[in-house]
């Protein structure tokens, strides 16, 4: 094992371009994570691989930056009163089991259909989950914004909260009382998705909102606790195999620690439904991106035929659209913050006093 590790860790030389790329993507990924609780990893890993970094080193080094970023984001948002630590830890426990099952499924697919089969499975999971969940999140955000921006607890969450199935857990900060049994599938699915597409929050946050009844502010902040627990466990595992390139981790961290705090501050400037707008938008664009990659993997498996040039173009468009997804999310966050800050400044400005001049 160690020989393989040594081969894989023939770490690349870092030039200014690579450093700038990692710092900027780290910053934007951090901004999005601080705001919606997850994101960034889906662009960072393929982006790092395109710099010539071996896949395993890219995943390991990326994960090792993810948990301290999540820790700092969770700490900031805890201070703003948005984190339910108990909710995050309960979810993280079942998510850890979900990750293990997700890895086993990946291994079985890899053994049966090889690399292309595994890639196809990942892409199809991306498309299916992101279209269904992302579509609903986006629709709900649009509905909420039309009704003035006030969030409502879903009928499903109200129904589940009313079922008295011991043990019942009270999440004080989230103001949710629900059976442990209903939290397990949500946490498990979060872990499964994290093991498959590296962004468990795309199921975890909507799950906490629509199934458990937490607000989007509490759900996105508590997701950072889950990301910390899962990221920490994963990083220790990768580091024990010597796969973490600490230089890459620290460069990404330099950008993401600045971004994650901006994202966290941003949540206090905007209306709550903006979290859903950003999340839904990113999920739908990423779904399109992964959808574009499906024909490439089907060709690799021999199911269909595409010219080599067409495959290269599709791969490139797919990566660019993923980067667009992240940037769009960042632009919406910054735009909403800008509007929020302007509105705040207007509130502080005293109303003009008109003095009638004597005739």
């Amino acid at each position: 094992m160690h020989d393989i590790v040594q081969q894989a860790t023939n770490f690349i030389d870092l030039g200014m371009m690579q450093v700038a790329f990692l710092f900027i993507v780290g910053f934007i990924g951090g901004l999005v994570s601080g705001f919606i609780g997850s994101g960034g990893a889906f662009v960072l890993t393929p982006g790092m691989m395109s710099l010539g970094i071996p896949g395993t080193v890219a995943v390991a080094s990326n994960m090792c930056h993810k948990f301290p970023k999540a820790m700092v984001g969770a700490y900031k948002r805890f201070k703003y009163g948005q984190v339910d630590i108990k909710l995050g830890l309960v979810m993280a426990a079942s998510a850890t089991i979900g990750v293990q099952v997700g890895i086993k499924i990946q291994e079985a697919i890899l053994a049966a259909w090889g690399e292309a089969g595994s890639n196809l499975y990942v892409s199809l999971s991306f498309v299916a989950v992101l279209v269904i969940v992302g579509g609903y999140v986006f629709y709900d955000a649009w509905k909420t914004s039309k009704s003035g921006g006030a969030e409502k607890v879903t009928a499903l969450a109200r129904k589940l909260q009313s079922i008295n199935l011991p043990p019942m857990i009270h999440f004080k900060r989230a103001n949710v009382r629900i059976s442990l049994w209903f939290t397990i599938p949500v946490g498990f699915a979060t872990g499964m998705l994290a093991a498959t597409i590296a962004v468990g929050g795309f199921v975890g946050v909507p799950g906490m909102i629509y199934v458990m009844g937490a607000s989007s502010l509490i759900a996105s902040a508590s997701e950072l606790v889950i990301a910390f627990v899962m990221g920490f466990g994963g990083s220790v595992k990768w580091a024990m195999n010597g796969m973490v390139d600490i230089r890459l981790t620290l460069i990404i961290l330099a950008g993401s620690l600045i971004g994650v705090q901006l994202g966290a501050i941003g949540t206090t400037y905007v209306k709550e439904h903006m979290i859903k707008v950003v999340m839904g938008t990113i999920m739908l664009i990423v779904a399109v991106s992964r959808g574009l990659a499906v024909p490439v993997y089907l060709t690799d498996l021999g199911v269909m035929h595409l010219a080599k040039d067409t495959m290269t173009v599709l791969n490139r468009i797919s990566f660019i659209s993923m980067a667009i997804a992240l940037c769009t999310g960042a632009v919406i966050i910054l735009g909403a913050m800008w509007k929020g800050k302007k509105a705040q400044a207007l509130e502080k400005t005293p109303a003009p006093v008109f003095v009638r001049s004597p005739k």
Binding site: C64, K76, G242, I246, R247, L253, L257, I265
Partner: protein, 81 residues
Amino acid sequence: MADSQGSTGKKPVGKMISFGIGSIILYAIVFSNEGLVTEWFTKGKWFAALPIITVFIFSFVHGTFASYLWSVLGLEVVKKK
């Protein structure tokens, strides 16, 4: 990590500069000893503690710098009524 100053308080410019310098020193130490750091940090097994402890230290120093940076730039938390 540090609490940023309230919007009415003095901007923590000195603290931001101190933690910024601390952060630069930490990065300089790692990158000027790139070869040695990479060799020890990838030995695996119990040496896994090295990258983990390192990211915690960087998170504290660089994270505190980032917190003061936004504060100095005038971005403070809005307390909604």
